[in-house]
Symmetry: C2
Subunit: 309 residues, 2 copies
């Protein structure tokens, strides 16, 4: 296992789904000499130790980063600035700092000012997750066959290369992107879809004539997939929207425009427009299956008996 070691000591700040999955995989495959973790609450630190997410936990982030050659910030985007300010003075010279935030411009603005010279900052965003959160939810295969996007700007090439090797060892494909391009791409593929799903679930929840019982009972026709997305961590997603504001609002503006056009087609009975639109959207689905980012298995990935077994 020693031959696979990429870092001497990795510090994971925040111990939720992403950090937990990283820790389990790093330890399983011997990708670091030691994995140190920090979480704000004692309960999370205890769970992290009990599940073996890390080798050691520290009660402060400053303590956790001491001597680490890689520090990964795995806290909600809105908490990045505070954590960066705390750890800045304690980072080892030559260390790499990275993160797993879903937006990159805001994280760079929050973190970079707090990092001392000689520390390499390589922002990262693994496109992986589930609707579950917290230290109980991680598993070592989370990143397999998923993308990890880096926005390194002018970071040290050796530091970028080493972090790339880590994410590949975690099972991901790695790609470097321009910061603003990243933020727009994820607004389309993740942020806008999440806000839309949250909205639709909220509407259903509000409807009094259709009782909650019916909304729940009859959810298999599409709605349940929205509820799965809309069960994602509220704090994480609040921070995502507040920190990728412009790109998200731009995509939502486009979305509303299109929705109005389809609503008008329904109102005026323009079946040809609807049929053409629905035919076009099938092609993009085929592309996703061919790219290995989903499967063609029917019934929304669930077994025919309504379970995942």
């Amino acid at each position: 296992m020693g031959g696979a070691m990429i870092y001497e000591r990795i510090a994971l700040i925040g111990l939720g789904l992403i950090a937990g999955s990283m820790g389990l995989r790093i330890k399983r495959d011997g990708l670091a000499g030691e994995v140190v973790g920090h979480a704000r609450t004692e309960a999370t630190r205890q769970t992290a130790m009990a599940r073996g997410l890390v080798d050691r936990v520290c009660t402060t982030a400053a303590e956790a980063v001491a001597g680490a050659d890689l520090v990964v910030l795995c806290v909600p985007v809105g908490a990045m600035a505070e954590v960066a300010a705390e750890i800045g003075p304690h980072l080892a010279p030559g260390a790499t700092v990275s993160d797993v935030g879903s937006v990159k411009r805001a994280v760079i603005e929050a973190v970079a000012p707090h990092l001392p010279q000689g520390v390499h900052f390589v922002p990262a965003h693994p496109l992986a997750g589930t609707e579950h959160s917290g230290p109980d939810s991680g598993f070592p295969q989370l990143f397999e066959n998923r993308w990890c996007l880096l926005t390194p700007e002018d970071a040290d090439p050796d530091a970028v290369d080493r972090l790339t090797r880590l994410w590949r060892a975690l099972g991901s494909d790695v790609e470097a992107l321009d910061v603003d391009h990243h933020d727009l791409a994820v607004a389309v593929t993740s942020h806008a879809p999440h806000l839309i799903a949250y909205t639709m679930v909220g509407v259903a929840d509000d409807l009094r004539r259709v009782t909650d019982g019916e909304v729940i009972k009859y959810s298999a026709g599409g709605f349940r997939d929205f509820t799965r997305i809309a069960a994602s961590d509220p704090t994480m997603w609040r921070d995502v929207f507040l920190n990728n504001r412009e790109a998200t609002l731009e995509i939502l503006g486009r979305f509303t425009e299109e929705l109005f056009a389809l609503q008008r087609a329904i109102r005026t009975g323009d079946g040809a427009l609807l049929h053409d639109y629905f035919t076009r959207t099938r092609a993009i689905r085929r592309g996703i299956i061919e790219a290995g980012q989903d499967t063609a298995a029917p019934d929304f990935g669930r077994g025919p008996k309504g379970d995942d077994a």
Copy 2:
């Protein structure tokens, strides 16, 4: 197997996903003496015979319904009137006619006028499906643990009871609903979510700055689930929207109102509103899992390696 027989002869008009799944299950469990099918194209009829969806195929619907004690219309909602007009004169006295359309008021208006006296009309809507369509896509477990909603109005109680027994034998829970209440409930749980998914996928497809390649590659963050919904059969869904117009537009109006409120919260930085909203939507998800309409398995029902195995 004979003990389980509920109808002497069942005629399935249209041989796509729903009819195919019905036929396979009815034949597997001996729920009818004979299953006869009709599809417009020779290719579909051949596939239906090759897969054993039915015992016998007919080139016309009129021929298929002759002597059947149950006729199930499994064609798109927009084709119901024409089929009903064709079969009306050929229905056996005392036969039950049902359908599997996703809207009920429009189907009743399209079908009922063509049915002779002494024929029982019991409209039905199985809340089951996948994003696949056609005679190759059915499987006998499709309806297990799913709801089948009947809107019998003043239909003969014995005919309703017999159809209820069939759907229970297919694996479904059965419930009778008022027609307009049905159409509103499915507008919330199925029709509006589908239109929204189609819209979001269309928006992504249009975006030129973010290439198709990136939209596809980075789809795991939520978007891929929209594409799965938006890969559903275009003809079926065109007809659904055109035939459940008022309820769908009403729900979409509510949706837009809520979406604007959340957009405004993003724009003004109202994190508390967003967090409260996202917390509330989690509860409805728990209800769906407890009701057995989905599972708590993470990663949107897909395996950790991105497959469903």
